[in-house]
C-alpha cells in the first residue's frame, strides 16, 4: 500500500508545500530542524488540517480538501510516536501501553505486550506513572504505545533521539522487521544519517517546507552528488549473498563474485542482503595491498569523480560488487592520478547491513551486534 501525500499549509512565517509517495516499506523524512517534518506527519495523522491537500493510503482517502473529505484522527488508525512523548499522566505505563487495545474493533493483535516491553526494556516500569520516568524511558513507552495500537500506518517522529546507542541497537531491528513485513507504510522522521541508511527504503528530504529530493534510498545514497547531511555521510548500497559462516566467527559474503567478510551473521547461507559501504570507510589504492589487515578489497574502475568546495572528493567506482563510493582528498586524487576509467582497488574498512535485506527480517542474533552508526564490527585482514 502506497501512502501518497500532497499538502499545502501556511504558518505565520513558514509555508509547507510538499507532494510525495511513500511506497510500502519505510520512508524516512529527513531534514533540518524546522523544515516541516512534524507538520507533514501531523497532517497525515489528522491532527492538523492543511489549507489544501490530498492524503491516501492506496485507494483509501484520508484527506481530500477539494472533495471535502477529512477523516477524523481516530479513524485514520495512524500509530503516532510523538516527538514529545505525550504519555497520559493519569495512567500507569501499562495502561498507556495497552490504551489502544480497547479500540481495536476486531483487529487481531499482531504483537503482545510482553514482546514489546521486552524489546523496549520497560517491563520493570509497568506499574509506574509517566511523571516518574526518565526521558529515555518516556520515549520508549511512547514508542511501545504506538506499536501496540495495530495501526494502518506508523508515524514515528524521531522515536530514538532520546536513546543511547545500545538501546537504539536493540530497537532498530524491530523497525527493520516491521518494514520487511511490509504490512503497513511507515513514515519515519530522523536527523540521523546512520538511521536513514539502515532503515530507509524510500528517502524524502525536506528543506524549508519543500521536498528537495525523493526516491528509493539505495539510488539516492549511491549518487556521489547526494549527501543531504554533508559528504561525510555519503555511502553506497550493494547487494550480496551469504556464502558461508567461517570458523573464526566471520561470515563470508559473495558480492558479484567478490568475497566480503562481515562479523558473524545468523541468516542461512544463500540469503541475499543489501549492504551499505560508507564513502568515509573506503580507501583507494592503484595496486592490490597484500600485507594489511583489510579483508575486503574490491577491484574496480573509476566511473565519476565529484569534487566539492573543500579539500575532499567523492569517487564513484564500479566494481564487481556494484557501485561503491569513496571519500578521499583531492591530494590523493592527484597522487593516485585518478580519472574516469582508471583501474584501482577499494579497500573497505567496514561494511554495514543496509535496508531491504532480502531475508524476511533480521534474525535476533544479529541485532546486538548492529550499532547505531550502522557499522557492524569491522573485519580486518
Amino acid at each position: 500500500m502506497t501512502l501518497s501525500i500532497a499538502l499545502t499549509h501556511r504558518f505565520a512565517d513558514f509555508t509547507l508545500d510538499v507532494a510525495f509517495d511513500a511506497p510500502p516499506g519505510l520512508t524516512v523524512l529527513f531534514g533540518r530542524s524546522g523544515s516541516g517534518k512534524t507538520t507533514v506527519v501531523q497532517a497525515v495523522a489528522g491532527l492538523l488540517t492543511p489549507l489544501k491537500g490530498h492524503i491516501a493510503i492506496g485507494e483509501h482517502t484520508l484527506l481530500d480538501t477539494e472533495r471535502g473529505i477529512n477523516l477524523p484522527a481516530h479513524r485514520r488508525r495512524a500509530g503516532y510516536v510523538f516527538q514529545d512523548a505525550r504519555l497520559f499522566p493519569h495512567l500507569t505505563v501499562q495502561q498507556n501501553l495497552t490504551y489502544a487495545r480497547r479500540f481495536l474493533r476486531g483487529r487481531t493483535p499482531s504483537t503482545s505486550l510482553d514482546e514489546i516491553t521486552d524489546m523496549l526494556g520497560i517491563a520493570p516500569l509497568l506499574s509506574r506513572r509517566p511523571a516518574t520516568l526518565s526521558g529515555g524511558e518516556k520515549a520508549r513507552v511512547a514508542l511501545g504505545r504506538a506499536l501496540l495500537s495495530e495501526p494502518d500506518i506508523l508515524l514515528a517522529d524521531e522515536p530514538l533521539a532520546a536513546l543511547d546507542a545500545a538501546r537504539k541497537a536493540e530497537i532498530l531491528p524491530y523497525f527493520e522487521t516491521l518494514r520487511d513485513a511490509g504490512r503497513i507504510p511507515i513514515l519515519y522522521v530522523s536527523h540521523d544519517m546512520a538511521e536513514v541508511a539502515r532503515l530507509a527504503t524510500t528517502l524524502i528530504t525536506l528543506d524549508a517546507g519543500r521536498v528537495t529530493a525523493q526516491g528509493p534510498a539505495a539510488d539516492l545514497l549511491s549518487d556521489p552528488a547526494f549527501h543531504p547531511a554533508g559528504p561525510r555521510e555519503a555511502g553506497a548500497l550493494i547487494e550480496a549473498t551469504i556464502a558461508a559462516h567461517e570458523s573464526d566467527g566471520l561470515t563470508r559474503l559473495d558480492a558479484g563474485g567478490a568475497p566480503l567478510f562481515l562479523p558473524g551473521l545468523s541468516q542461512a547461507p544463500g540469503t541475499r542482503l543489501r549492504l551499505r559501504i560508507a564513502a568515509q570507510d573506503v580507501m583507494l589504492a592503484r595496486t592490490r595491498p597484500t600485507d594489511s589487515s583489510a579483508l575486503n578489497i574490491l577491484a574496480g574502475v573509476v566511473r565519476e569523480i565529484h569534487q566539492g568546495d573543500g579539500p575532499g572528493a567523492i569517487v564513484a567506482l564500479d566494481t564487481q560488487a556494484g557501485r561503491v563510493l569513496a571519500r578521499i582528498t583531492k591530494r590523493s586524487v592527484a597522487a593516485l592520478d585518478l580519472a574516469p576509467g582508471t583501474a584501482c582497488h577499494a579497500i573497505v574498512k567496514s561494511v554495514a547491513i543496509a535496508p531491504e535485506s532480502v531475508a524476511p527480517g533480521l534474525a535476533p542474533g544479529l541485532s546486538p551486534g548492529l550499532m547505531p552508526t550502522a557499522k557492524p564490527f569491522a573485519p580486518n585482514a
Binding site: 484522527a73 499522566p89 479500540f103 509517566p130 511523571a131 504505545r145
Partner: protein
C-alpha cells in the same frame, strides 16, 4: 440529642438529601454545559453562558420566583415534568433540591470549565491517534484529568446546597419535613426573638457536615494529583492530612 430539637434533626437529614441530590444531578449537567462552553462553538453560546451565571447575578428571591413561575404547579415546565416524568417540584423536597441545584450550578460549571480548559489538548490528540473516538477520548482522558475541577465543583455545590435559603423558601416555601432545610430552620430561629441559640446550634451542625464534605473532597483531590505526580501511596496519605 438534647441540644438538637427533632425538627432540627429532620431539617438536617432533609438538607443532606437536598444538597446531595442537587450535587449528584447537577454535576453531570454542569459537566455537559462546561464542556459546551469550553470546547464547542455554537450559536447561543454567549446566552447559555449568561443563563448559567444568572442565579448568581439575580437576588435569590428572584431566582426562586422565576422557579415558581416555571416549575410551580401552574408553571409550564412544572407541568411537563409532572406529566412526562411524574416528578413534582412544588412544595416538595425535590423542589428544594432543584433550587439548590440551580443556585449551585454556576460554581460547578466554572470549576469544571477551568479544569477543562487546563487539559492539554495534545493528550486528547494522542488518544485519538490511538483509535479512541471522541466520546472515548472524553471518558478515558479528559474526564480523569478534570477530577480536581469536578470535586471542587461538587463541594461548592454541596456547600451551597447546605446553605441555600432565599430561592428555596421562595420556590417551595417552608414545609417542615418536606422543604424545611437547615438554612430555613436557621432563618426561622433567627426571626423569632431569642432564637439565636437554636440558630447557632443548627449553623454549627451545617458547618460540620459541609466541613466533612470539604475534607473528603480535598483528600480525593490530593490523591488524584499525587497519582498523576507519581507519588507513592505513603506520601499521598501524608500529604492529605490537613
Amino acid at each position: 440529642m438534647s441540644w438538637l430539637s427533632p425538627d432540627g434533626l429532620t431539617a438536617l437529614t432533609l438538607s443532606l438529601k437536598v444538597a446531595g441530590w442537587a450535587t449528584a444531578i447537577g454535576l453531570p449537567l454542569a459537566l455537559a454545559v462546561a464542556y459546551a462552553l469550553a470546547r464547542l462553538r455554537f450559536p447561543g453560546r454567549g446566552l447559555l453562558n449568561i443563563a448559567v451565571h444568572m442565579p448568581l447575578i439575580m437576588p435569590p428571591v428572584v431566582t426562586g420566583y422565576l422557579l415558581l413561575l416555571g416549575f410551580g404547579p401552574q408553571g409550564p415546565l412544572g407541568r411537563v415534568f409532572h406529566d412526562v416524568f411524574g416528578l413534582t417540584f412544588a412544595f416538595r423536597w425535590t423542589g428544594a433540591a432543584l433550587a439548590a441545584g440551580v443556585m449551585g450550578f454556576p460554581f460547578m460549571v466554572r470549576a469544571i470549565r477551568l479544569s477543562l480548559e487546563a487539559v492539554d489538548p495534545r493528550l486528547e490528540q494522542a488518544a485519538a491517534t490511538l483509535g479512541a473516538p471522541r466520546f472515548q477520548v472524553f471518558r478515558t482522558i479528559t474526564l480523569p484529568m478534570i477530577v480536581p475541577g469536578l470535586l471542587a465543583g461538587a463541594v461548592l455545590a454541596f456547600a451551597k446546597g447546605m446553605g441555600e435559603f432565599g430561592a428555596t423558601i421562595t420556590f417551595v416555601s417552608n414545609i417542615p419535613g418536606q422543604t424545611q432545610t437547615l438554612p430555613l430552620a436557621i432563618d426561622l430561629a433567627l426571626e423569632t426573638p431569642g432564637g439565636e441559640g437554636q440558630a447557632l446550634r443548627l449553623a454549627l451542625l451545617s458547618l460540620t457536615i459541609a466541613a466533612a464534605a470539604l475534607v473528603l473532597s480535598e483528600w480525593l483531590s490530593r490523591r488524584v494529583a499525587a497519582r498523576i505526580a507519581g507519588q507513592t501511596t505513603a506520601k499521598v496519605e501524608e500529604a492529605a492530612q490537613i
